[in-house]
Amino acid sequence: MTDQFEPTVIGFTCNWCSYRAADTAGTARMKYAPNIRLIRLMCSGRLDPTFVFKAFADGADGVLISGCHPGDCHYVEQNFKALRRFILMKRVLVQMGVEPGRLKLLWASAAEGAMFAAEINKFVEEIRKLGPLNWGKDEGGRMKDEISSFITHPSSFGEEVPA
């Protein structure tokens, strides 16, 4: 395979700092990997863990959560809530067999465009190394394929019985 794997990464940014950081990077014409799709929330505290699970379930290979630096959140402490959700989500994802590196938290101020762009590039490369997650392209997707291929080639119950 000569085609290199292009990961799909979803990034959630807060309106006040991290989205501005992306803006700063953009206005300064800094380039960063096009693999990331940024979604702007008002605050990282708005990040419902459902968004992250939905992103993975619908085919994202990595998810970035970003917000203002601790102490800088425009809604006082909501980014600490995001931090706690991030840590807890990561624990759950690891139990589900997902590499912890697929979920990243990044604090960025409006001035940190260059840092933001560099971190996105770094994250995309890390995900590229991890390879596709392929959770499922449609309703039940991957599992459905798995089941139908299993039914046409039944592999019996685990290991073969010694004859």
């Binding site: 419902d48 863990p49 459902t50 992250v52 699970f53 939905k54 993975f56 379930a57 601790p70 402490e77 600490f80 809530k81 931090l83 706690r84 959700r85 840590i87 807890l88 989500m89 624990r91 759950v92 139990q95 589900m96 067999g97 997902v98 392929n134 959770w135 499922g136 039940g140 991957r142 599992m143 798995e146 089941i147 299993f150 039914i151 039944p154 019996s156 119950f157 685990g158 290991e159 073969e160 019985v161 010694p162």
Partner: protein, 346 residues
């Protein structure tokens, strides 16, 4: 003539424990109403009937089918499809059919791991390492048993479902109320709820029905209930650091567990509007933790040793992710097999 013909009723169990059947019988004398108003045509736990009898029925001839249990193998799927075809109203009955429930927890593991645990652990005497085969050729012919799927699916992942009735098992008073409703519909005194409705439930959360007092909104430690003595009988369990799932769980049980001093574990499934039960709880638990430093947060979270089990105990198969990686990814299985071999090689 037609008035003397009673509408037909069926109940089936797929991958389940049988508790749903007990819950139905637990409606006591109301079961006589079922008998008075319905002709029971298929109910393996209560009467003898063969699949071929169901196959011979006319499509849509069963008015009401309560289907409990998840879809674990091709027999389950076959009967789900058959009953769908034969029934006017198909109810996903109980947590297993609605969202996977305890059998759905197997979706954290590959089939290989499940069978290794079942056939090779210390409590199993299996010196020849026998494994049942789905298809086996004998001199007399081939014998077949159902194919075990890589994951457990919920009923609505294989067929169209008309109503959902959650609970592990559904509370008997709720079952009685639903049966009453159906009978009233039959008599033209009530209307059926819209298709897809969740029935036999409240329209709020367990916390809403819970009478425990809530004062503070922050937690500095989680504990298992058996490690906390005494448990305050009046204060919210979550406030006492006991991981209680009431805030994301649909009401309908009258907050039975918290009022008896045990935490809600979520058997009534996601509350109205909750897409992913576990995600809602992650959100809720993270909100009440009183810490800002990562190390401190990690320390507090260590008090929940099995977060995936805590948050998806009943709802894994019906969640957004539906299963852990080992259950659906071949390389997951390969990797685990390799690890096990390495472990044995030592």
């Amino acid at each position: 003539m037609t008035t003397s013909v009673k509408p037909k009723f069926a109940m089936y169990w797929a991958a389940s424990c049988g508790g749903c059947e007990i819950a139905v019988l637990n409606i006591h004398e109301k079961i006589l109403d079922v008998d008075a108003n319905f002709e029971v045509v298929f109910w393996p736990v209560a009467m003898d009937a063969k699949y071929k009898d169901v196959e011979a029925m006319e499509d849509g001839s069963i008015l009401l089918t309560l289907f409990n249990g998840g879809i674990r193998n091709d027999e389950n799927e076959h009967i789900a499809k058959l009953l769908r075809q034969k029934s006017k109203i198909l109810v996903a009955f109980g947590s297993c059919a609605c969202e996977g429930c305890i059998p759905g927890l197997a979706n954290f593991s590959s089939r290989q791991e499940i069978f290794d645990t079942y056939y090779e652990t210390i409590s199993t005497d299996n010196p020849e390492h026998l494994r049942p085969q789905s298809h086996y050729k004998m001199p007399e012919g081939e014998v077949n048993i159902p194919e075990f799927y890589p994951v457990l699916k919920t009923l609505d992942q294989v067929v169209d479902v008309d109503y959902y009735m959650p609970g592990c098992p559904p509370e008997s008073h709720q079952i009685a109320a639903v049966i009453d409703l159906v009978i009233q519909v039959l008599q033209g005194k009530a209307e059926l709820p819209p298709k897809g409705a969740v029935i036999g439930v409240g329209n709020s959360t367990v916390c809403d029905e819970c009478t425990r007092k809530r004062n503070v909104r922050s937690i500095t430690a989680f504990r298992r209930i058996q490690d906390l003595a005494p448990v305050d009988p009046e204060i919210c369990l979550l406030e006492q650091g006991i991981p209680c799932n009431g805030s994301a769980t649909r009401s309908g049980c009258n907050a039975r567990c918290p009022s008896a001093g045990a935490q809600c574990i979520g058997c009534y499934g996601p509350a109205e509007g909750v897409l992913d039960y576990g995600a809602r709880l992650i959100s809720a638990f993270a909100s009440v933790i009183d810490a800002k430093e990562p190390e401190e947060i990690e320390r507090i979270l260590d008090g929940i040793p099995d977060p995936a089990g805590q948050f998806y105990r009943f709802s894994l198969a019906g969640s957004l992710l539906k299963a852990g990686v080992p259950a659906w990814k071949k390389n997951g299985q390969a990797k685990h097999a390799a690890e096990r071999q390495r472990g044995q090689g030592k």
